[in-house]
Amino acid sequence: MRYPILSAAFLLVLGGSAHAAVNVVATLPDLAAIAKEVGGNKVAVTSLSLPTQDPHFVDAKPSLVLKLNKADLLIAGGLELELGWLPVLQTSARNERILSSGRGFLDCSRFVHVLEVPTGPVDRSMGDIHPGGNPHYLYDPRAAAECAKGIADKLAEIDPGNAKAYQAGVRSFVDRLATARAGWEKRLASARGKPVITYHRSWNYLLDWLGLVEIANLEPKPGIPPSPRHVAEVLRLGQAKGAKVILQESFYPDKTGRLVAKKLGGTVVTLPGGADVASGEGYIEHMDHLVDALEQALR
């Protein structure tokens, strides 16, 4: 072969068009994991962000443009979580299907009961708040089940030939998730009502589901790093309410959390922001790890 690079490129181009699986791109790893559960071998799923990456601040890398250029379906978390990076990727991708008006775009926030929807006027003196409500709903398995159903319906719409497979996939996933959820709820039943401190307001859906009580955030306002005065106030509150657990994602700095936990005689639970889909971790396995960590800390 005299021109190996050109030939390889040509084959890749041809290969791309001949591939039968629906090309699904999700903005968040948990959405990718759920789409994989629903679509099985009928879909090829990619996540634009990593579980170790803050989903508010993803670089709009041209390599992500390439992924969207070839996507049949783009699944987003919505509620302006991806506002800082997704729109420019959608416009640059030259793929009409995955524009927000396109048939291949799905905003999963429309399937969930959104928490913390502002009831009055908002502005950024309140921090980097989301006017549509809190976007971190994927930590609640009940919301994940609703998203899975929405994804199955959308997959059936764009790939009607495999509609039965998607319905079977979602039924299986929702059943397994329901069983797992019952187990998780049982394991954490004794923790109901316990006070916790969180770094960012990312865990409110999880707390709502498990009946835990958030008494303070280490961030004084969403998106604003902790200040000494605020941390002192959090510490005072934590002592008054007997909080022993600080909950945060692994992409936030944990020095402050560790200090507060030490002074409260508690622990910091640091968790990735989603399933590690690249290494094959599913949503249920990810939540399993999350519940393990919580159970241990809240014991």
């Binding site: 490129a9 709009a60 041209p62 506002l83 009409e96 950024r124 409500g133 604003i224």
Partner: protein, 424 residues
């Protein structure tokens, strides 16, 4: 004024929606016959009970099948029909060691004391399924100007995309960007010297193509007016007798951008650019290259960013009796070392323009007869992602002047509204 009006409308709409939507479940008719009002003589109590039961079932079914309310209620949906609008303001306090400083950027701090650099109004939204419209309107002490206003296609086939209107050409890395995307308070010498105080922008059209290669390769071609403020350092500019008589009287720009994802944490963007167009005495050719190497460890959840950015342009201006050549460029290193803090350093170089005989006679910069070097360092603090404070110190050494020009800036940038995301 506009945001306040929008807010008032939004509040009114939300309250109307709240009235229109049953936030609480509608009162369910009681299955037992109500004593009042009295049933009509034609309907006995059994019928009434059946009707009430049926109504209750219908109400329950309707409640069940009701789609989930859109996030944020109808107010958010109505609001989303408006363009995304943001204002970005740049202010600086400046000090220069010499009476005459040689800042080349239109919005650079220019004099000792307080400087209002600019207020940028950015807006954008989808027009219809086929176009979106983006604009950057700049307000500054000398007036208002439309720096960019262009429509971008959304649904061209074959991986093509077109822009039509007035835009910053995609020559190099920094030219198509705005001050709030820059790591320094002032514009690189290169852009001021080769293009002008506000970079290279003009009316015209652009077509870009995303190749189907396995790595990112984008090819861009544009044809723009060679006249006007955004072309007056290399092309027709404001020349009084400049007119379009043939296709050769436009500025043509061609660029190739390649991106290599070396790993999740390392990215490399490499661009090649070429532009050609008429100047008042002949034809100008510009050859540029730009490199952007970024380290951002997203696999370990760190705030660290280290980015190296470098650009250079070789320019040949054709004259009636020969040509003038010069080279300018810069290299800068940006390091975000904490969530809210970053430091950056930049080195810049500009050669004098030489003609075919090695004589340094540039009608645009008659004093620029020797090399010019400038170095700058700055420190940035972000109170939030919507504001930043910067302190910058630079030493400019034009070799034709006896002393270097030392400059110090303290700058504040604040933004409000919804601002679109930027390209990598």
């Amino acid at each position: 004024m506009v945001p306040r009006l929008a807010l008032v409308s939004l509040t009114l709409l939300v309250s109307r929606v709240a009235l229109a939507q049953p936030a609480q479940p509608a009162p369910t008719p009681s299955p037992s016959p109500s004593p009042s009002p009295s049933p009509s003589p034609s309907a006995d109590s059994e019928d009434l009970s059946d009707i009430e039961n049926a109504l209750a079932e219908d109400a329950a079914a309707a409640e069940k099948s009701r789609p989930a309310p859109p996030p944020g209620g109808l107010g958010a949906a109505v609001q989303s029909m408006n363009p995304d609008i943001s204002f970005i303001a740049d202010f600086a306090a400046a000090w220069f060691s010499e009476d005459e400083n040689l800042q080349t950027g239109e919005h650079d701090p220019h004099e000792n004391g307080f400087n209002f650099q600019q207020l940028e109004l950015a807006l954008g939204k989808a027009v219809d399924p086929y176009f979106r419209l983006d604009g950057n309107i700049v307000f500054h002490p000398e007036g208002v100007e439309i720096e960019e206003l262009y429509a971008t296609t959304l649904s061209l086939p074959y991986n093509l995309q077109a822009r039509v209107g007035q835009f910053l050409t995609r020559f190099g890395r920094q030219n198509p960007t705005h001050p709030h995307q820059w790591d320094f308070v002032d514009q690189p010498l290169m852009l001021g010297k080769v293009f002008g105080g506000e970079g290279n922008f003009a009316l015209g059209g652009e077509l870009s193509y995303l190749t189907p290669l396995p790595w990112y390769v984008e090819l861009i071609g544009s044809v723009t007016d060679a006249r006007g403020e955004g072309t007056n350092r290399s092309f027709f500019g404001d020349a009084a007798d400049a007119r379009v008589d043939s296709p050769l009287d436009f500025q043509d720009t061609v660029a190739a951008k390649q991106f290599f994802e070396l790993s999740h944490d390392w990215s490399l963007l490499w661009g090649l650019s070429w532009a050609t167009g008429p100047n008042p005495d002949g034809r100008t050719h510009l050859f540029g290259t730009d490199v952007y190497l970024k380290y951002r460890p997203i696999t370990t959840g760190s705030y660290t960013i280290v980015a190296l950015q470098a650009e250079a342009i070789y320019r040949r201006r054709g004259l009636a009796d020969g040509h003038l050549d010069d080279v300018t460029g810069y290299a800068q290193l940006f390091w975000r070392f904490a969530q809210r803090w970053a430091a950056a350093a930049r080195y810049e170089y500009g050669s004098p323009a030489e003609n075919q005989d090695g004589v340094r006679v540039d009608p645009l910069d008659p004093d620029w007869t020797r090399n010019r070097h400038r170095a700058a360092a700055d420190l940035t603090f972000w109170p939030s992602e919507f504001s930043r404070l910067r302190a910058q110190l630079s030493v400019d050494a034009p070799r034709w002047l006896p002393d270097p020009i030392v400059a110090g800036f303290l700058a504040l940038e604040v933004s409000i509204g919804v601002h679109g995301a930027h390209k990598f």
